[in-house]
Each structure stands twice: as structure tokens, then as C-alpha cells.
Symmetry: C2
Subunit: 286 residues, 2 copies
């Protein structure tokens, strides 16, 4: 199930990269096919990037146009991504990128509603003036970091399920098993396997040196891609959720202190303090 | 349940506004209290904004510091937001902002992990150079648009539940009921009630003229706030998910055509075409 949840995120992230390359530097499908061929030679090497290159290169026999452009943009699903998201919610594990991938499929399915809304809700009209090659490289890096964040979420879910059920999962062996024969097989899984083999109690994939390095090298690209998508009006829910996850996870302090104060204010739910143990309640009103 | 799911989103969005105002223009708690007092006089007038102003103004008797800063940033929950998210997933309704609010609470709860991660994962060090007052106004508008997106999701969930169960819900009456005595009571609920009263079959709140206008006037602010958060490293999962929802919903074309091609490639799940009815399968490999 978690394999498939990660697969949902992987696929959605690739689709968002495709949307960005088409909407901003306006690459054609054959140009994008060449980009994915190139990406498949590096850190992103994977079955899904490989088949994406093949798909983008395919010509429709009936129309002579790229086949991908003749396919209706309404995603279907069999439920494993949904199930992963629901279990993550039950176990209290943040899996936002997986859940966003599931919601993105649902939103895509509402085609008639979207077409109607597109006539009512105008977006920004902002010209794209960046260097094309530099932007393509930023999207590559953004995809890489986001993919790492999605895997981090999947393995945190495995860890919590393992704790809850006492399964004795071996995370390195799981990652090792996914290196071949699986839809998510990729070059990333060997360093992922090695990270858990070296440190079975690794709290989060982002903290393994190999992946910390990827984040350090490429997070700026993800930030710039998210900013560009926001300003140009391209929907990238999975990229955005990956960045918010990264920034949330690396925040020693989050604004949940205010949230706890609100809960105490309206429901007397109490709060904890930073400077002393115990539960506290404030009489907020006279 | 949906009331509470919306409440989770409302609270998280306010917390993200608080995080942004503290991290970027570096407003103090008393300064933020004044901002929330001001916001409570306009379109954002609501119980939650009102109590936030009171909370931010409160001084801790023990330390003499703002009480909110003495509260531990680990959010708790009773499960209604989680339940809303899980039901949305079951009914196929995109409710990303509600789900992100739930995941944000979960991530906040992992305090020890976050503190450890903050020493390993460095973020950007980018000086904030924008005009303070202009930024505060952008955050206000971003909060307003994001709140509308969260309500749109909640009411789409009600609509789908109504269809699934044949309840005969009256959405205008529900919004009307929430105008008083509820935690999410706000000035926004009267135009919301009126929108559904005028058009009971309204497909999405974003398409009601009053709310289309809010989106048109303030979406640029949300875009700029999301871009700033991304570039400065402030985690705003709910703001980002609201923007991605808006941009996805108003997209006549989404990249799910590529996703359907991938599904057909690896699983022969078939796809539909834009130019003719029926289900199609391509033999992608020789």
C-alpha cells in the first residue's frame, strides 16, 4: 500500500513538472521527451521517468499530433493512494504529498466543472522571461527534492505502522525490494536502502547524509519553482506540499503555540509551556 | 464534522499568517494583536480572528513576555479534522486545505524530531526587504482568499455527501446556522448563505459572484505571499494548498492526461480521448 502511495506522489510530481515545462518555457511534447530522456540518465533515473519519455515521444496515428495531447485529463484511481492517506491520518503521520497527489486526481476528474470554472475565474497573465534551460534544470532539481520528501513521508508512515503493530519491519530491505520489478523502481532506492541499512532507527530520510545533501543542493530550485508556479498560476499541489513539508520538518518552532492558545480559549483544552512541565489553562476572558 | 474540518483550516491559516508576520516583517506579538484587531473590522471579521487578537495581546504573568510565546508549539486534536479529511477521500472530494491543516498539527506534534532536524537541514537566509504595511495587507488578502477556498472545499464535501446519502441538505441554511454560536462564525457566512440561497445548485463557492470577486481582487496577494514564504523558508502548507486548489479548479486542462498515459503504459488501465468517445489502450512497447 505504501509503495502505491509513493507511486501516486511520484506520478503527480512528474505531471506537475510536465505542466510547468509546457506552461512556462512552452516546451513541446517532443522537446519534453528529450528532457525526460536526459533526466533518466542522472539522479532521477527511474521507470516512471523512462516511460514518461516514451509517452511524450509518441505520435498519435489518427491525428499526427503527440498522443499525450489527445488523452483526456481525467485521472482515475483504484484506491491505494487514498488508503495510504487515510492510514497516515489514522496513525498521525504527515503524508501531505501523497494526499495531495490523491486530491489532484480527484480534482482532475471534475473536468466539466473545471472547464466551466475556467471561464469565470481568471488567473494571472504574466509573461515568462526566464532562461529556458535554467528553468528546466530548476524543475529537475525541484522534482528530485520533492520526490525525496514524498519518500520520507512514506517511510515515516512505515515506521509508525511498525510501531503501532509491532511488525519488525526492515526499512532497508523494503527499499531494497523496491529496486526491481516495481513501478517506483529508481536510482534513488539504492542510497535509500543504504541509509536505512546503516541507520535502522533513522527518524526521517531527510536526515540521512545522502539525502540531506540532495536537499541542501536543490532546495533553492524547489523554492524558485514553487514561487514561479504561484506567480504564473500553474497548479502544483504536490511540489508545494513537499516544500511545506520540508520547511515544517526543519522548523524548530512552528506556529502551533497560537493554535493551542486558540483551543484553550474556546474549549479549555489546556496547553503546555516551553519553560515548565504540566498542563495549563488561562482564563482568557473576564 | 464539516464545520470542524473548516475550523481546522481556519485556525491553521491564521497560524500561518502569524508565522509569516513574525518571520518576515518581524512584528511583535502586541503589534500583531493590533493587526488582528484591524482585520476583525473588515471582511475577515470572525470569532477566531477576534480571539487571536486577544491571545496575542496577553502578557504572561510569570515572565512578563507575550503569553503566546510561552506556549509549546505542539498542537493536539480530537479527530474531527482527520475524520473530515478521510471522508473527503472516500467521497472523492478534493479537500486539500482541510487535510493540510490536519497534517500540520501532526507535524507540529513531532517537536523533538523538528528540533533535531533544524540543526541538520538549513533553510535559505534571505533578507526581508519589502514594505511592512504592504506585506501585512498582502497576508490579510491571502488569508481571505485561502479561507474562501477552504469553505469551498467544505461545501463541496457537503454536496457530495448529500448526493451519496440523499439527505436533502440545504446549504444556505447550514451556512446560516453557522453565523452564530459556532467557532467558525464570521462575516463571510452571510454572503455564503446568500450565495447558496440564491443558487442552491451552485457547483462551487468560488463561482458565486461575491466570492469570485474576492478571488479576483485578492488572488495576486495570495500568489505573492506563497512565493515569499517559499523563498524565505516559512512553512505555509494551508496557504499553498489553497492556491493550488484555486489554480487546479480554474484549469480547463490539467496534466492528468500524462498520468492516464502512465497508467495505461504500466497497467493497461486504458484512457479516454479528447476527440472521440470510448476507452483506448495503446501498445506502448514493441
Amino acid at each position: 500500500m505504501v509503495h502505491n502511495g509513493i507511486e501516486y506522489a511520484d506520478m503527480q510530481l512528474i505531471c506537475e513538472a510536465y505542466a510547468l515545462l509546457g506552461a512556462l518555457p512552452a516546451l513541446t511534447a517532443p522537446e519534453m521527451a528529450a528532457v525526460f530522456v536526459e533526466w533518466n540518465r542522472g539522479e532521477l533515473a527511474s521507470y516512471l521517468v523512462d516511460i514518461t519519455a516514451h509517452i511524450l515521444a509518441r505520435t498519435d496515428e489518427t491525428t499526427g499530433r503527440p498522443l499525450v495531447e489527445m488523452i483526456l485529463d481525467t485521472a482515475e484511481q483504484k484506491g491505494t493512494g487514498k488508503w495510504t492517506s487515510q492510514v497516515a491520518l489514522d496513525l498521525g503521520v504527515p503524508a501531505p504529498t501523497i494526499a495531495q497527489a490523491v486530491f489532484a486526481r480527484m480534482l482532475s476528474a471534475a473536468k466539466a466543472e473545471r472547464v466551466a470554472a475556467s471561464n469565470v475565474l481568471a488567473g494571472p497573465a504574466r509573461p515568462f522571461t526566464e532562461d529556458r534551460a535554467a528553468f528546466v534544470e530548476r524543475v529537475r532539481r525541484a522534482l528530485l527534492v520533492s520526490k525525496v520528501c514524498a519518500y520520507a513521508q512514506g517511510f515515516q508512515l512505515l515506521r509508525e505502522a511498525d510501531r503501532a503493530h509491532g511488525w519488525g519491519l526492515r526499512f532497508g530491505a523494503i527499499a531494497g525490494g523496491w529496486r526491481a520489478g516495481c513501478i517506483i523502481r529508481s536510482a534513488l532506492l539504492e542510497p535509500l536502502r543504504a541509509a536505512f541499512a546503516q541507520q535502522p532507527e533513522l527518524p526521517n530520510l531527510l536526515l540521512a547524509p545522502h539525502f540531506t545533501r540532495i536537499v541542501a543542493e536543490s532546495q533553492q530550485a524547489l523554492r524558485e519553482v514553487v514561487a514561479a508556479a504561484a506567480l504564473h498560476g500553474v497548479a502544483v499541489p504536490a511540489f508545494m506540499s513537499a516544500l511545506a513539508y520540508l520547511d515544517g520538518y526543519r522548523s524548530a518552532v512552528l506556529p502551533a503555540n497560537l493554535l493551542q492558545a486558540q483551543r484553550d480559549y474556546f474549549g479549555a483544552h489546556t496547553y503546555r509551556r516551553t519553560d515548565q512541565p504540566g498542563s495549563f489553562h488561562t482564563r482568557w476572558t473576564d
